[in-house]
Amino acid sequence: MSGERYSVFGRELPIPAKVGQLGLIAIGIAFFLSVPSIFSSVDVSRMADGGVFILLALGLNIVVGYAGLLDLGYAAFFAIGAYTYAILASSHYNIHLAFWPLLLIAAIVAALFGVILGAPTLRLRGDYLAIVTLGFGEIVPRVVLNLEGVTGGVNGLSGLDQPKIPALGPFPALTFGYNPIPYYYTILGVIILSIIIIRNLQYSRLGRAWQAIREDELAAASMGINTVTTKLLAFAMGAAFSGFGGCFYASKLALVTPEAFTFVISVTILCMVVLGGMGNIAGVIVGAAAIYALTTYVLIQLPLWMTGISQATGFTLLNTIDFTQYNFIIFGLLLISFMLLRPQGLLPSRVRRAELKHGDIAGSMGAQPETVTGTSSSEDL
């Protein structure tokens, strides 16, 4: 290990690998801690929102990237977490639980729903499971919409409580209010903690079991892995992350409506995982940040840039295209092109990196492991 040099995108630098990695992490953390002093309040708020999506992508990565289960209804757990907060921390039911325990409660509630949904369905083969999760993803917002008495129907629930940090010794109590900065730091802390936990999981007995299931479910079962409970665990963990994120999101927005939890959200998060690289933590974060930036900055700014370009070049046609409408097309093309050309995503997971190192051209061109998600293709006679 001491002989290995740190390499970035294939180029070696004259520093030991470990030092390089730690250095990068230190620089990163320093940067992110100082963000509120560099960027405007609006930007910080947006980054906090983006952080929620990063968290969601990390959670979906466990389900799709590690265990290999395609969940097309991930937004449902997001909704469950959000409405759990709305119901338990507002004047609608006069329940005012504190924010911090509610994060955990929302995660647990979402995980419970994950178990309820997953227990009967996780033994289905991959494509059927995908459709079932899609169905669930449609049922939840619809039920929320219909149970107007409980959930406020189409108008949702508003005026939710603001998080508070209770007074500690010399420090006065701090109410978050409409200040995005405490939200930003909270989500930053949560993301860092999540990265540590997920990375630990990846290199653990459980993480290996997930990856074994993803590679070859029958062989995994033959190794003594209880595939049903192991898959359920992945599914529930993913749901927990989503519920956690939903609770945070609800408290920041102080409002929940069924509109925010549609299939488009589920697919958006899937795009983040696919783009970044299924199974790769750093990749998923980059993918999430990229897509979030794309939808909140680029697509909004694009008309302005287009105006600028068209004025400079005389191509007035560019002026007329309204890029905010192109969400669907962009996501669609993204998913299709990545699956066809680079299914491993932007940042190769450690698996692919090893392949590229060994010059395994066929592997790096996107040939996938022969996953047997769901099929129990038994041997010939």
Partner: protein, 256 residues
Amino acid sequence: MSSILAVEGVSKVFGGLRAVDNVSFEVEKGQVFTMIGPNGAGKTTLFNCLTGVYKPTTGNIVFNGRPIGGTPPHKVTNLGIARTFQNIRLFGYLPAVENVMVGRHCRMHAKLWDAMFRTPAARSEERKVRARAMELMEFVGVARYAEDLARNLPYGDQRRLEIARALASDPQLLLLDEPAAGLNPAEKADLGKLIHKIRDLGVTVFLIEHDMKVVMGISDQIVVLDHGAKIAEGVPAVVRADKQVIEAYLGKGAAA
């Protein structure tokens, strides 16, 4: 000598097809026991019944005195039976050593909490398991590939790796499905030696094999299947001379 595995009147029927037809035999502890028979004789199907992939249509399977017919695969492994597959089923995109570590899954105790927070207990267990995996890889002769992706190993070494992975669960009974398929003569000889080494450890080895030289060279006891039914059983010398066996392989009239 006690029997470690007893197959009693086991049949497996798929629709109209009797893949395994009323087969009975016993495997003694510490033996190298081989099942042979022409292609399509039902050997792998029987293995699949033993390991819980299929539930036998009729009959009993008794392992160490305990009936296991219909027990799901992960529980069967827990009880002490491990296997390899006819078409190698390694976890191709995991490093070789991690393949073997997965094999040890059922003997490990780390739970979700340990995994999430890398508790001292988890870390110590990981170290031990990795060391054991390296030992096993040494034992079968593939230690030099530890960090390589399983799919990149040469074919013969992949077969050995699969055996190492199966041994990782400390099984009492090791099922090998055509371990010599695709190996050259030198590799086959090495395989024979490896199987004897495994037997010397106290593990009972039950294999399916086609190559007669390998079979005759290493087996203590042989059972012959044809069209799902048992047609002969005994020590190699006896089976080799059995008329029905010769006919099954070479066709009628060859035994004359």
